[in-house]
């Protein structure tokens, strides 16, 4: 692989290497199928008492994903949507997108499971 091909594959390689658990994104309308993608856990504003991905999990969870992932065909993660990480359901409070297709999902734990 050439140097430039290697550089262009950095994001995908890092995501594949450091993904501990994948995140499942839900269609806010509840119509389309869920999409499961690689993600990296980032440090939130404050650290909490629970390990991300454990049960009950932290209330605030920040994840790095590729928002230009080709799996997102019918919808993309957006504010007000939902996601599940480690079996815990979250609301998507904010999506911070960079110029290269990466995005940070700011998640807030739901009191009730997705769909209730």
């Amino acid at each position: 692989m050439s140097f430039f091909d290697t550089v262009s594959a950095v994001d995908a390689t890092i995501l594949a290497t450091f993904t501990e658990k994948q995140v499942t994104i839900h269609d806010p309308q509840g119509l389309a199928l869920d999409v499961t993608v690689d993600c990296i856990v980032k440090n939130p504003v404050f650290e909490e008492d629970y390990v991300p991905g454990s049960s009950p999990g932290p209330t605030n969870l920040w994840l790095f994903i590729r928002i230009d992932n080709p799996l997102f065909t019918q919808y993309v993660p957006a504010m007000g949507g939902g996601a599940t990480y480690g079996g815990v359901d979250y609301n998507i409070s904010r999506v911070d997108v960079d110029r290269e297709g990466g995005a940070t999902l700011v998640l807030l734990k739901r009191s009730q499971p997705w769909g209730q």
């Binding site: 806010p28 504003v45 404050f46 605030n60 007000g80 609301n91 009730q112 769909g115």
Partner: protein
Amino acid sequence: MLDPDIILDFLVGAFQSMPQVLLALGNDPTQIIGHKYLYGKEHSLAKTLFESSSPSVVVAFANLIGGNFSGMTVNKYQFEVYIKPKNAAPTTGSPAYSPPHLWYLMMTSPVIVVDPLVTNPGTLDIRHIRLMANLLPPDLVTNLRHQQDPTGADLFCGQIQFPEQGDN
């Protein structure tokens, strides 16, 4: 003088006894919690609010206001009620209520749980009932203000204060 922690318990119980309020919180009374300052920095109010999920209500004692209010009131116990809204998505499931509407429900729904020493017809809202013996009905004037949590999400803070009858 009364124990603010005991007033807090009755206030949380009162909110938990309101069916319409519970419906807005997924019929889960554990989503209405009272914060007590038991563990210092290990469990500060800021941390409790940061760790409260959506939707949820956190009730915390804020101020003991002393003064010469009337012929029988020298103490007022002020509580703050923090409301995190429910996400509207998905379109199925229980509906989402705006925090202002939820505050309206909390102030106008009949209260079931009060001190057993107090007469409770079960038809009065929290602004017209005594939660505890030696506690008068709260001031009719309440406050509700908008703020944001550290992640930028909406958070509403309601204030309600209870005058004590006399000074024990």
